[in-house]
């Protein structure tokens, strides 16, 4: 049953399995064990980024394509929902139309970019997507009549998801059953569903071809696969999932602006999450997103302590300044690319595999 649900791609490492269970349990129980709005927001952000990072991994880790336009699709999803709900009012119809329109736009855009530029070398593709993404970002802030410009859009979501909606008067285990809680669990459900679908995709014959292209494109082509159409499909699929992640973000925040979904900083965060978690393993997306976002929100507090303790030492004080958390994650990123390109998940799987093979007969 579990094997089937995970498409035969089990964690293959006891430690990893435990970590994944802890993350899932932690997310599910957040409203009950960590009170307060901040913890809930962090947990929701982890869910959204699991989808986003996994979709990026589909492209980077499984197909070996570096794209810097991934946040563009994330932003399209978020803006789709935001614009539709601003114009049509807080209805489910609005949500559906926004998501559908965003998906269509992403489909067309990713198809065009893919067909035009996936024939060129990796470098060019990376550069072209970078240029396209930055153009899109300026466009979003320029057409302020539609997108709200730099200020972004605040909007109302369907009543079921608003904090004002209440399932029953009495709180359950000390937690009030309001719309925020409902949307949180809906978010987790959608995340799990999308993740399992992506796991299905990468473990299908189609996914195997993508990996073959990553390993040796020339050979895959010689075997008779149309590599360009496979690479384009991978590009489109990954854009679609990123769009959905963007829609989730907008619904959760009830706000969207260029900085929350389109900025280049998010693109860099994404890269860090994919690489630290482990390229080419979707579980890496879960681990990477969880570690990164927890670090983003709580490492600073830790560093505040450290910088308080070292306030007298000039250089060290600046190095552990709370605002410099990205420095340490950046170093971790460079180390990951060198030392364990398969990231945390790859490392765990490798050591589990070594342990298994070291005991003959086991």
């Amino acid at each position: 049953m579990l094997n089937h649900l995970l498409s035969g791609d089990l964690p293959r490492s006891r430690v990893l399995a435990v970590v994944l269970v802890i993350i899932l349990a932690g997310l599910l129980l957040t409203p009950f064990i960590f009170p307060g709005a901040k913890a809930l927001n962090v947990a929701a952000k982890i869910c959204i980024f699991i989808v986003l990072v996994a979709s990026f991994d589909l492209l980077l880790g499984y197909t070996g394509i570096v794209s810097f336009a991934h946040t563009m699709f994330f932003g399209i999803g978020a803006f789709g929902v935001a614009i539709a709900l601003t114009r049509m009012g807080p209805t489910w119809k609005g949500v559906a139309i926004g998501v559908a329109a965003a998906l269509v736009i992403s489909l067309v855009l990713s198809l065009v970019i893919g067909l035009f530029s996936l024939r060129v070398k990796a470098m060019f593709y990376a550069m072209i997507t970078l240029a396209v993404a930055s153009a899109f970002q300026t466009m979003a802030s320029q057409f302020s009549d539609i997108t709200g410009g730099e200020d972004g859009l605040s909007f109302k979501v369907p009543e079921l998801l608003t904090p004002g909606f209440s399932l029953r008067e009495a709180p359950f285990l000390g937690v009030s059953l309001d719309g925020k809680l409902i949307s949180f669990y809906l978010l987790i459900a959608v995340t799990v569903l999308l993740f399992l679908v992506m796991l299905r995709i990468v473990n299908s014959p189609f996914g195997r071809v993508l990996q073959a292209i990553r390993e040796n494109e020339f050979r895959a082509e010689a075997l008779g696969y149309r590599t360009v159409s496979y690479r384009t499909s991978s590009n489109v699929l990954s854009a679609m999932f990123a769009t959905l992640a963007g829609a989730l973000l907008a619904l959760w925040l009830r706000y969207n602006g260029p900085d929350t979904s389109l900025s280049f900083e998010i693109m860099i965060d994404l890269l860090l999450m994919v690489v630290i978690g482990g390229m080419g393993t979707l579980y890496g997306a879960v681990v990477g997103a969880a570690i990164f976002i927890v670090a983003q929100n709580y490492l600073q507090e830790l560093m505040k302590l450290a910088s308080g303790a070292s306030a007298k030492i000039p250089l060290l004080r600046d190095l552990v300044h709370p605002d410099r958390w990205l420095l340490w994650l950046g170093l971790l990123f460079i180390l990951s690319v060198y030392k364990f390109p398969a990231g945390i998940v790859g490392k765990l799987r490798l050591s589990a595999w070594r342990k298994r093979t070291a005991q003959p007969g086991a």
Partner: protein
């Protein structure tokens, strides 16, 4: 018995020089003239465009050569720009007496000192960057993109550690401020200086590339690395040299860009990155002349459209890239790579 050697040796067939892309610059400038209408505005805008183009060229030339020589695309190139600009704020900050004096000589010395310090620091950091970040991942494009991006993140953060995260002012020395009148047109002095400086760098670079042995080897290496290696030249050493010089030029460009904008932010480098890529794609990856023309086109177009249709100015670079690539898919001067 007549030996064939007595017959006159035919000259080697030469490739006809391709001057078509060169024509783009005057054509663009002439097309813009009637659209803008006023000649004095046109002169001002043209100089602004050329100055911007020169600075971009100085920054991008190293990037394109590094790519041509070793297929290394450094996404962290922007760090050297920021580094150079911040070094200039420090050096000029120490020499405030000299920059605020009205003597042209003292001003000039201060700026030259800032440029020299910025270039040597950027070059030095460049050699470390090459050793630590780039060397371990040769020939692995995917890792290279990721790791140079990582270098960019860490570099930017380290710059924030040293100089702080806020924007710092970088004021022009007194003698460089203001503008001079050319007929009716007011041209800022600093823009003129940038143009002259850019032309000097371009001339020196062209001279080195075409008239020295090192230049010959670099051009040959861009064209066919293995052949140069098999003739016994150490292309690795050449590459390190080009990388260091490229970083130093980026530092110089950073100083000039900072003075142009009159302020420096730690995000300067990553903001310019996109522009640099567009320029070297337009020029043809690995071609210095192409890079020069590409940079001028970008600079001119940005200023013309900024005046005529400001909304389009934001996309003018992308539009330019699309048009150029439709015309010449490998850039203006494709490097005939093996």
């Amino acid at each position: 018995m007549n030996s064939p050697a007595t017959t006159a040796i035919e000259p080697l067939p030469t490739v006809k020089p391709d001057r078509l892309p060169l024509m783009l610059l005057p054509v663009l400038a002439l097309v813009a003239l009637p659209l803008i209408g006023s000649a004095s505005t046109w002169v001002t805008l043209t100089f602004a465009g050329l100055a911007m183009g020169m600075i971009i060229f100085i920054i991008a030339s190293g990037l394109t050569l590094v790519f041509g020589l070793m297929d290394v695309l450094n996404f962290g190139h922007g760090v050297f720009i920021t580094l150079g600009a911040f070094m200039a704020t420090s050096v000029l900050g120490l020499m405030t007496g000299w920059t605020t004096s009205t003597s042209l000589l003292l001003n000039l010395v201060a700026v030259l000192a800032a440029m020299l310090v910025a270039m040597s620091v950027a070059g030095g950091v460049g050699s470390v960057f090459e050793r630590v970040i780039i060397r371990p991942v040769y020939g692995q494009p995917l890792k290279q993109i990721l790791i140079t991006m990582g270098g960019m993140i860490v570099g930017e953060e380290l710059i924030k550690v040293v100089w702080g995260p806020e924007a710092r002012p970088l004021l022009l020395p007194t003698a460089f401020q203001g503008s001079i009148l050319m007929g009716d047109a007011a041209v800022e002095k600093y823009r003129l200086i940038s143009v002259v400086l850019g032309l000097i760098v371009f001339a020196i670079m062209t001279w080195v590339l075409t008239h020295t042995k090192v230049g010959l080897l670099i051009r040959a290496g861009v064209h066919d690395r293995e052949m140069v290696e098999s003739l016994g030249y150490r292309i690795r050493r050449l590459f390190i040299g080009v990388f260091v010089v490229g970083s130093a030029l980026a530092g110089l460009g950073g100083v000039m860009w900072g003075l142009y904008q009159q302020s420096v932010t730690p995000q300067l480098g990553s903001q310019v990155n996109v522009l640099l890529f567009i320029v070297i794609i337009i020029g043809g990856m690995g071609s210095v002349t192409g890079c020069f023309i590409g940079a001028m086109l970008v600079g001119l177009l940005a200023n013309y459209t900024g005046f005529l249709v400001p909304k389009v100015a934001l996309f003018s670079n992308i539009l330019l890239m699309v048009i150029v690539l439709l015309w010449r898919p490998e850039g203006l001067y494709p490097v005939g790579k093996k």
